[in-house]
Symmetry: C2
Subunit: 319 residues, 2 copies
């Protein structure tokens, strides 16, 4: 299959490489050139977006946010460096082409994109992923898909090389709703881990032994396994940036508002993340939620490096 792939970032790059490794002819595009060059060096092809769109059987999108998806598909009114009006790839996709949108965006943005593409005879499946950079590199992402049964079945084949598990969870937009729930769980689990670890670090218990035994009981989680070591080591390089998790939490709170469900803990976690962004930590991994708990009580702040804001951020360590 010839697959267009737009968005070769932390997640997209390894996902696209899995498609290449599976034997597909993959044509990549990314806003910044070095990502494209790295993809070509890894066996991918490169093309301008319209050519990529016009020649692909399926188009995978892995973009940061809803406006990015809308700009790539439908144009954003900006003007190219060459002087022509930038348009979207939708006008170049052949009827029958399948768009597999792995971006995390609002459910209603997904539904609107599907409707606009549908008028052109183009198919759309929302297929956001979970598992983080490590899941993308390992090809074990969880893919939550919304669309018609036929379209999702076709999308299964596209995502299989980077998926550890997939599910058809409902009509278009449903994948995004489940992803919103996923991000609620992940952020909440990280935040309570931040609290539990901050407590233990102040008590002098053996942290390595404690983490091992916590992982053997009802407190066991993927977040405990993957994020606790990062917090203890002061390694807050993304991974998954707080900026993006903030965007996802706002999508979840918006979906919850429309559904008529108040989410008190997620509301608090979202405000903690907002505070971290205000403190200059938005480009750190979401494990940096531990800093919110530390700053609240005037404790030394995990990570130690000078933050993106240029402000010093305390010292690393286990105490």
């Amino acid at each position: 299959m010839r697959i267009g792939f737009i968005g070769l970032g932390i997640m997209g790059a390894p996902m696209a490489r899995h498609l290449v490794a599976a034997g597909h002819e993959v044509v990549g595009h990314n806003r910044s050139a070095p990502a494209v060059e790295a993809f070509v060096a890894a066996g991918g092809l490169a093309a301008a977006p319209d050519e990529l769109a016009a020649t692909s059987d399926a188009l995978v999108l892995v973009l940061p946010d809803g406006p990015d998806v809308e700009a790539v598909l439908f144009g954003d009114g900006s003007v190219d460096p060459g002087g022509t009006a930038a348009d979207g790839v939708a006008d170049h996709l052949r009827p029958g082409t399948l768009v597999v949108d792995c971006s995390t965006i609002a459910p209603e943005t997904a539904r609107s994109a599907a409707a606009r593409l549908g008028r052109r005879g183009v198919r759309y499946v929302d297929a956001p992923v979970s598992g983080g950079e490590s899941g993308a590199v390992a090809g074990t992402l969880a893919v939550m898909m919304g669309g018609t049964a036929d379209d999702v079945a076709a999308a299964e084949e596209v995502v299989a090389p980077f998926a550890g598990s997939t599910a058809h969870v409902g009509p278009v937009g449903s994948g995004q709703l489940v992803k919103a729930a996923n991000q609620v769980l992940v952020a909440g689990n990280i935040a309570v881990l931040a609290e539990a670890l901050s407590l233990l670090r102040r008590t002098g218990v053996d942290l390595d032994a404690a983490l091992a035994v916590l992982g053997g009981g009802l407190a066991a989680s993927r977040v405990l396994e993957l994020k606790a070591p990062k917090m203890l080591a002061g390694d807050l390089a993304p991974g998954f940036r707080l900026d993006l998790h903030h965007k996802d939490l706002k999508i979840a709170l918006g979906a919850a508002e429309r559904a008529g469900v108040g989410l008190p803990l997620t509301g608090t976690v979202t405000q903690l993340v907002l505070g971290l962004r205000a403190a200059g930590d938005g480009s750190l991994d979401h494990a940096a939620l531990v800093r919110a708990i530390e700053r609240l009580s005037g404790l030394p702040v995990t990570g130690g490096a000078v933050g993106p804001s240029g402000a010093p951020h305390g010292t690393p360590g286990r105490g």
Copy 2:
């Protein structure tokens, strides 16, 4: 080894049976007689607390709270039906006996008990467990132990038949600190699961498919695996009662206050649990945290049965 075992409740009964199955001579005691009769039917022995204490090489306690531990060990000043002042078992334990306290109590209560026993030449290890009733039945509990290296090594042998994993996490009281962190994680993970599920139930997505795919990504947790099905089925029978989890969360908040760490999410979760107890749900499983989210927004309440307070609690169902 001859092991005394006081506290044959939801957790203690299966733990004691594992000790019997491992070939130990186990002498059980419980405040209510039927639990003792069931234990004897399962191959255990029965004795009054002083006789049990005087003849045991090790004494395991699985009691609900700190005051229970203090009453059993040191007496509570009450008068027996026979008219003699009730005293504690500590006066009957032989020097060198090892007390393995699997109750979840405050770290300072554990330290005080260890000091009082130490004056009698009796050894003490705090060894709270995680894994819930299913872990107790399966013999796969996580056991977090505080004490001297020698005492913990001796306790390892005692707990092995019901342990899936053990850890020596520090001096006496450290096991309780790690258990407090465990309960912070478990309650927090359940509460955010309650939020995520309450959202999904209102959106019409395929819940079984959603849960399966959520379990394949970074949101995966033991709580997701064990508690989401209970919430969806409206099965809120304990398991682990909200009343006890509330006690444990207050222990955690007390430890955090002494350590100088504010825990904003755990504070909120504790208040949600307090509200559930006030609503008459304290004897339900901690999965009933989902009801706090539902009541907040006036949604139908999971479980459907008439609650302990006699008030109707809505209808079960998937949304």
